[in-house]
Symmetry: C2
Subunit: 218 residues, 2 copies
């Protein structure tokens, strides 16, 4: 069965998934890059930036799932694809260079659809203006029986969880307090009724919290 | 040196330290008792309610510190001492019966001071209307060189942390989403700059997060 999954989504201890002040120079907002230090420190993270070395513990085990867990398509919000206003730049092709690290169809949710873009390495960006269930339908069809990853940001994950469309979610709680940004948990009261929840803290200081759906899918 | 400590303070994954709807029948609010299931399941918790058995792992190790870590006085908010309106009941002596589990002087912060109450077992309740630094001064004097525990609720802890008066804090993140109540982290942005933070997840599902002050005391 094709599952809808969230992987490696980092939030601060006070629940913010994106820092304030997102821009071309600060894709995760002014403080948000600190949300991802744990990932950049892993072997997987080092390799992604062309480096070597890195940690090999629980952080690495989770981070590496990004590449090795049978994802056939991705859905992301407009805020993950580019800085505010990217839709006014007809040449914008995402943050990730010519060979983005997705290697699948990627459905970008936007109120400003544009023609699809084929990138190197198997990534194709599609731009759709659709509510969660409809976007998931398109992604699932493109995934060819594999899972669909929900890439974020926080607003998109929240909307899909609220619509009861997420089967598995891996959230990384980072011990910093951002004080502002987008709250992942807003409006998701009693979520624990639908999921088995595990927590695994890492020597890096972060805690990996996983949600596995136990109730019926909607 | 006498430290100011927070112990065993439970919050939901979305950061609420107290559920909504606190009352005589629901001291932690309508959903808040679920914040303390981890503690009640320990040997220490079972014994507190006159039972036997219970878990003996990391939850027990933390819970038991309540009794065994050199606390000489406690500070708590009015909302911890009684249900809304307790100050109108001249006979109210707290939730805990004739022998409260503190066994030290306890300073209750209230806008309605009343005469002190001597209880069995060494607990004396004092009622003061004072800002954090002044309340801490009184408690520290009463503690006779031992540490001062900040008992909560969330508003009181937040105020003392914001005033840079807390040396060590143990917060227990429980994997439930309450959606409402008092947010522990509100207004404490960048707290991580002043503390070394560790996280230890427990098989019970909760994560123990400890904050040890690294910077100067104010």
């Amino acid at each position: 069965m094709s599952l809808t999954r969230v992987q490696n989504f980092s939030i601060s201890l006070d629940g913010f998934g994106t820092g304030d002040g997102q821009s071309l120079d600060a894709p995760f907002g002014t403080a948000g890059e600190r949300l991802h230090e744990w990932m950049v420190a892993t072997r997987w993270g080092r390799a992604m930036f062309g480096g070597t070395g890195g940690t090999g513990g629980v952080d690495e085990a989770f981070a590496r799932q990004h590449d090795e867990s049978g994802i056939g398509a991705e859905i992301m919000g407009a805020g993950k694809f580019g800085p505010p206003g990217w839709h006014e730049d007809s040449q914008w092709k995402g943050w990730w260079g010519p060979n983005p690290p997705f290697h699948t169809p990627v459905f970008v949710l936007t109120h400003h659809p544009r023609p699809s873009i084929d990138m190197e390495g198997g990534t194709t960006f599609h731009f759709i203006d659709a509510p969660p269930a409809k976007a998931l339908g398109a992604a699932r069809e493109a995934a060819g029986g594999l899972d669909v990853r929900l890439g974020g940001g926080a607003t998109v994950i929240r909307d899909f969880v609220a619509a009861r469309l997420v089967d598995h979610m891996h959230v990384v709680v980072v011990p910093i307090l951002l004080g502002r940004g987008v709250l992942l948990w807003h409006g998701l009261e009693s979520l624990e009724r639908d999921y088995a929840i595990e927590a695994a803290s890492s020597p890096s200081g972060v805690t990996h919290v996983t949600f596995t759906r136990t109730g019926m899918r909607s």
